[in-house]
């Protein structure tokens, strides 16, 4: 019986997963509940409106810098594809194709 349990999982792994889940849940709810306590001003509204794009740019730019030139042109191609035809699947395919081609040419 204990052999079967061990083949499915280990207690340490379950503890780690539960701890990670709890940390994620705190991140998910704390922003909303913090905003319950903070007065809502036009200034704060402007800050929150700018937030989605800011998170996207702040996530992507350093990643591109780390991942290299091929990643940069792949992203540019995906953005161009979105500007021409607003279709996320197409943009993803264009970006991935450009990245695979660029890497196979050793860029």
């Amino acid at each position: 019986m204990s052999d079967l349990a061990a083949s499915l999982t280990t207690p340490g792994v379950v503890a780690a997963i539960l701890a990670m889940a709890f940390a994620s849940y705190l991140c998910r709810i704390s922003g909303y509940f913090a905003m319950n306590l903070i007065p809502f001003t036009p200034r704060l509204k402007r800050a929150l409106v700018a937030l989605p794009g800011s998170i996207v740019v702040a996530t992507v730019l350093p990643l591109v810098e780390r991942l290299g030139f091929a990643a940069g042109i792949a992203l540019a191609a995906a953005l161009a594809s979105m500007l021409i035809r607003r279709n996320e699947i197409l943009a993803l395919l264009v970006g991935l194709s450009v990245a695979i081609a660029a890497r196979s040419w050793g860029l």
Partner: protein, 242 residues
């Protein structure tokens, strides 16, 4: 509190609209989930453990980062290792604090109990879908919930085949799988575009993130850039980015 006066709306039609709106994100999510499953099997997690992590943590980037810091197979687990993984997860997912805050004007009409429950499903893609929908004037909370549910089910479902065929994706770079997330993220900037003035905070966010990525450990640069973007927008003159 002009936003608090919105009537709470939550309909089945909204949930179905959420399913539809998040469809374009699903190929990326499927590939990412499979890549996570493959990486988890390479790190020695069992299929059950990989699926359990996807179901309960449901945050791809932090799951991937946690695998990087995962103890070696056979090493004894310590409370310090568990706590370290929890802190790492919180740091990578700290962007969710800001994402949740940005949804407050919409969610506040619905009461704290429902929000504490539905925010279990908050993740990058349903937040982006929701932010876009709300910016276009939509108010049905079902869109956020429907998009989140679809993502959660797909995320768990496709972790499994990823784990099973883990060995086949041993070189994710060759198929550019490491770029799925950045490309998908960047593509979603186009619908968020509201003119050059509104993009000034984004530019500041990007510059600060680039600098922070060199100076600060781990994924702190996301938090640093996002906060810089918010502060910039707050300091800009009235009407600059609404």
């Amino acid at each position: 509190m002009t936003f608090g006066s919105d009537q709470p709306i939550l309909t089945r039609a909204g949930i179905l609209l959420g399913f539809r709106m998040v469809m374009p994100a699903l190929p990326g999510v499927i590939v990412f989930a499979a890549a996570f499953g493959a990486a988890a099997s390479a790190k020695g997690l069992t299929l059950l453990e990989a699926a359990l992590m996807s179901a309960l943590v449901f945050a791809g980037m932090s799951q991937m980062v946690a695998l990087e810091a995962w103890p070696h197979a056979g090493a004894a687990w310590t409370w310090a290792a568990v706590a370290g993984l929890a802190v790492l997860t919180a740091v990578v997912n700290s962007r969710m604090v800001l994402q949740g805050a940005s949804l407050h004007p919409w969610l506040s009409a619905h009461g704290n109990g429902l929000n504490a429950l539905q925010l279990c499903l908050l993740t990058d893609a349903n937040w982006l879908v929701g932010a876009r929908y709300h910016a276009d004037g939509g108010r049905d909370l079902g869109v956020l919930i429907g998009a989140g549910l679809a993502l959660w089910v797909m995320w768990i479902l496709f972790t499994i085949p990823g784990h099973l065929v883990g060995a086949l994706v041993s070189d994710p770079k060759r198929f550019a799988l490491d770029l799925v997330m950045p490309i998908f993220f960047a593509a979603l900037l186009v619908p968020l575009w509201r003119g050059r003035r509104a993009a000034v905070p984004w530019a500041v966010a990007g510059l600060v993130a680039l600098v922070a990525a060199r100076l600060l450990p781990g994924h702190v640069f996301i938090m640093a850039g996002a906060i810089a973007g918010m502060v910039t927008a707050a300091l800009m003159p009235e009407g600059a980015c609404e």
